[in-house]
Symmetry: C2
Subunit: 150 residues, 2 copies
DNA sequence: AAGTTTTAAGACAATTTTGTCTTAAATATA
DNA sequence: TATATTTAAGACAAAATTGTCTTAAAACTT
C-alpha cells in the first residue's frame, strides 16, 4: 500500500465529510459506523487532521467534527501530508538519506517524473472533487460498498 | 515510503549484482558489507528473490548469489513483485477490497493513470539500466554514498 | 445544578515489519 | 576424511503500526 491505513481512513472520512452540506458537526461515532472504521482509532486520526487545521471539532451533544474550510479548498495532498507526512511527494524511492541532485541514486531520475505526477494529481484534486464524484455516481467508500451517500 | 525496507534492500542488492560482470557467485556477506545492510536480514530477502527465480544461490566457499538471467532481462517490477507483491501495480489507493471498474472508489480514476505510469516505468526499466547508469555516473547506492562501483 | 453526550488524551494490547542470533545443510579445500 | 566457508531455515527480539479500552474535559439538555 502506498499510504498507511491511518492515511486511507483519514482520506475516506474527509471525503465523506466533504459530501455533507451545511456547517453541522458530524459525530465521529456516526462516521466510524458509516465507514466501518474502529471508532477510537478513527478518533485519533481525525485528531491529527484537527491539529493540522483541516478539521474543526466540538465536544458535547451536537458535537463532532467538520471541515475547517470548504471541501473545494482542501486538497487530497493536504490530508496525506497531515497523516503520512510529505515523504511520498518529496523523497526518492530508495529512501537513501542523502539522495538528491548532487549525488542521486540510479532510480532518482526515473522516479522523479512519476513522483511529480503523483504530487500534481494530489495537489490538484480536492475533497469536493472526490465527494461530488462519489455522490453523483454512488461510488464505493466502504469495503462492502453498502455506504449510502446522504 | 512507497516500498517496504525489504523491497528497497532487494532492489539495491539486485542493482549491485547487475553491475558485476561474469558468472561468479557473490557472497551475501560481501553484499551486506558493501551495501551496509544487516547480513541476516539481507539473506532472508535474497532468499525470496532466489525463490522467485530471479537469483541463483550456491553454498560453500566460492558460494553466494548471482542473477539467474542477464540484468538486461530482469525488470525492477519483477524484483518489487517478488518482495512486496503486485499490489502497488494493480490495487487502488484506498485499498478497498471490491474496488474495481464495477463499483470503484472516488479516487479510482485519478489513480489509475498514475498507477499505470508507475507500472510502465518499473516494467520498462531493467537492473542493467540502473547498474550501468550507477556505474557510469558513480551514483549513490548506500546511505553514506561511499560505495565504490567495481 | 446534575446528568448526558461527545471529543481529548493516554495507557495498553495485537499485529506486522524489521532485525538478530543459532543451528543445520551443502560445497569447497586441504 | 576432516575442516572451513557459505547459504537455508527458523527461533527469537525490537520497533512500528494498528487497534482497544479507560478516564478526563468540554458542551449541551433537563
Amino acid at each position: 500500500m502506498i499510504f498507511s491505513k491511518s492515511c486511507v481512513y483519514g482520506l475516506r472520512a474527509s471525503i465523506y465529510l466533504a459530501s455533507i452540506s451545511g456547517d453541522k458537526y458530524i459525530s465521529i461515532k456516526g462516521l466510524s459506523d458509516k465507514l466501518d472504521i474502529s471508532f477510537h482509532f478513527l478518533t485519533k486520526i481525525l485528531q491529527e487532521l484537527t491539529a493540522a487545521d483541516l478539521l474543526e471539532s466540538m465536544k458535547g451533544p451536537k458535537g463532532g467534527v467538520r471541515l475547517s474550510r470548504s471541501g473545494s479548498e482542501i486538497t487530497l495532498k493536504e490530508v496525506v501530508v497531515a497523516i503520512d507526512g510529505p515523504a511520498i511527494f518529496t523523497e526518492c524511492v530508495l529512501g537513501l538519506p542523502g539522495c538528491g541532485s548532487e549525488k542521486p541514486c540510479p532510480m532518482h531520475a526515473m522516479w522523479e517524473d512519476t513522483r511529480d505526477e503523483i504530487n500534481e494529481v494530489f495537489m490538484n484534486t480536492t475533497l469536493q472533487n472526490m465527494s461530488k464524484e462519489g455522490k453523483a455516481k454512488d461510488l464505493r467508500i466502504t469495503p462492502d460498498g453498502k455506504f449510502i451517500w446522504s
